[in-house]
């Protein structure tokens, strides 16, 4: 490879190199400046504008945001002394519950699988299984949601028109399907985010030296005890990293309910936000959006403490 070497005084970037040499701050500013400016202006700026937009009153005649400031929207979203607000917040609580359930299920499935792949499986197949687990991640969000819609479609009732009313894959193959509804939402979300949970856990297990586990064995611990007392605590940062995606992405989701929920209830908070936006009532939707924003930021900070960010 042609190396460096003094190329003489007519080096085109000489002045540039001189300017940057030894100047750490300039180096940081020039590299970080662009991305930082972009993120601050485009993203943080948008979030701030969103918060501000929640402070405008909706004109009842035209149903457009007016220029009058009001606390009414924030009150409608956060004032839980009001029973109407309580029912909205109840939807949020339900959604947080779903997000936590999905996280738990993902962790429960990911742990044994990642353990098998990193510690038990033959070395030559490990890479292959990990890659196989990650590939569905790239199949496409909508594709996967739609796939589950096709899986859980229930068969029609006895009043179905002839030629209609056959069920989807699960119903046709096993004679049973959870149908469109809450269970389908949870299963679909677990399906979506499972690879996000597997990857950091696998990486974490991979980094764990085998000698550590042998040492535990030497000290008299049976495999499950080792798992419980040595592996899981060491994996907590990795689980935290995976949970960032499973929790946050489940919390705000509004598309999966449209695909696999029954038509009856607005189960997830994201659906509520979306339909408020479509009412149209943008200020109130912005106010509602502050809830998941706050929750996820708090969650991210908590996970950061747990060391998740080094494991992303």
């Amino acid at each position: 490879m042609t190396g460096g070497g003094t190329s003489g005084s007519s080096h085109p970037f000489r002045a540039l190199n001189r300017a940057f040499h030894g100047r750490r701050r300039l180096g940081v500013a020039s590299t970080l400046g662009g991305p930082l400016a972009w993120m601050l202006v485009v993203y943080i700026g948008s979030l701030l504008l969103l918060v501000v937009s929640a402070l405008y009153r909706l004109d009842p005649q035209t149903q457009k945001p007016s220029h009058t400031f009001t606390w009414a929207n924030l009150r409608a979203a956060f004032d839980i002394t009001d029973p109407d607000v309580r029912s909205t917040v109840w939807v949020l609580v339900r959604t947080v519950g779903v997000a936590l359930l999905v996280t738990l299920l993902c962790a429960l499935i990911a742990l044994p699988v990642a353990f098998f792949v990193s510690k038990v499986a033959w070395p030559w197949i490990r890479r292959g299984i990990v890659v196989a687990m990650l590939m569905p991640l790239w199949a496409g969000y909508l594709v996967k949601g739609y796939a589950w819609r096709a899986m859980v479609a229930p068969s029609g009732g006895k009043f179905a028109a002839s030629g209609k009313g056959d069920g989807g894959f699960l119903d046709a193959t096993f004679g049973w399907t959870p149908g469109y509804g809450r269970a389908a939402i949870v299963v679909t979300l677990v399906y979506f985010w499972l690879p996000y949970m597997v990857l950091p856990i696998y990486a974490g297990l991979d980094r764990m030296p085998a000698s550590l586990l042998d040492a535990a064995g030497d000290l008299g611990a049976r495999p499950f005890r080792t798992f419980r007392s040595v592996i899981v605590p060491l994996l907590l940062p990795a689980i935290a990293a995976g949970s960032i995606f499973t929790f946050s992405l489940s919390l705000g989701d509004y598309i999966v309910p449209q695909l696999v929920n029954n038509g009856k209830e607005k189960f997830m908070f994201g659906t509520l936000i979306n339909s408020t936006l479509g009412a149209p009532n943008q200020p109130l939707a912005a106010a509602y959006t502050l809830w998941p924003l706050l929750i996820v930021v708090l969650y991210l900070l908590a996970m950061k403490r747990a060391g998740a960010f080094e494991n992303l």
Binding site: G4, F116, M135, P136, L142
Partner: protein, 272 residues
């Protein structure tokens, strides 16, 4: 660590079941794309046709949407690569105050629920921003999508490049300087080749992420511009278009998965 045979078998079974769980729905959709019926009812092994694939190719809507997706994904990938690589270079090479805050900031667009990002960006793009001397409105369309997608793709490019840079020894740079190379020469001959495959991997992943994104896209695309996920979303319940949706969904899978595999190979390639 020694595990008993039953434990090993159990773990193996769990893994196999999980893999089946992961791939079965995708196989179902692929099968449905050859199904003559216009519904999601499972046809079993009967009924097989290539008709829908030809129809999908001829129909204007899906083809146009596919093209739009490619254009947006490509531009977003380029922007994300530039920004992500710059950020990675800063984070890996320098020490400065606020590193944690920067990594938090970079991860935020992808970690926050899409609906939050979507509504926030839609709100911004719909406003006329008055800067005194001139005012402008971002509006909606191809450009707004590129901005939105690039914003959350930055972290993907960043992660790949920063991981590679962190893996490489800082001594390489010193050695290069010792050999008499200037800053730009070091970049051109040492740093860049080091990063290249990570950039490629990051770029491919950013492309795939943007290609398949739906949530933020529905808020920032505007009325006239349809990417492929937007088209699928608009048509998944239209009885006449369900077969086309099956086809396009299968197509997306068949394209994205090898791309992601390629990215995986590339990022494993050099280094370690």
């Amino acid at each position: 660590m020694k595990l008993s045979l039953p434990a090993r078998i159990a773990l193996c079974a769990v893994t196999v079941v999980t893999l089946v769980f992961l791939y079965l729905p995708l196989a179902v959709v692929a099968r449905l794309s050859f199904n003559p019926q216009k519904s999601v009812a499972w046809p079993g092994w009967s009924g097989f046709t290539f008709d829908w694939w030809t129809k999908a190719w001829e129909a204007d809507g899906p083809r146009e949407a596919l093209l739009n997706s490619c254009k947006v994904a490509f531009a977003a990938m380029v922007v994300a690569l530039v920004l992500g690589t710059l950020a990675a270079m800063a984070m890996a090479r320098f020490q400065f105050f606020g590193k944690n805050a920067v990594s938090f900031l970079l991860v935020l667009p992808i970690a926050l629920p899409g609906i939050v990002t979507g509504i926030a960006l839609q709100n911004t793009f719909s406003r006329t921003i008055d800067l005194g001397l001139f005012s402008f409105k971002v509006g909606f369309g191809y450009h707004s999508l590129v901005i939105a997608h690039a914003t959350f793709c930055v972290v993907v490019a960043y992660n790949n490049v920063v991981a590679r840079l962190r893996r490489s020894s800082p001594n390489l740079l010193e050695a290069s300087a010792d050999l008499g190379a200037h800053g730009t020469q070091t970049f051109r001959y040492v740093t860049f080749p080091l990063m290249r495959s990570a950039m490629l991997a990051g770029g491919i992943l950013a492309f795939a992420l943007s290609f398949d994104e739906i949530v933020v896209t529905t808020f920032t695309a505007g009325s006239g511009f349809q990417t492929l996920p937007v088209w699928i979303y608009a048509n998944f319940s239209r009885p006449n278009n369900v077969p086309l949706v099956n086809v396009m969904a299968t197509f997306v899978m068949v394209v994205s998965i090898p791309l992601a595999w390629l990215a995986q190979r590339l990022s494993d390639g050099d280094g370690t």
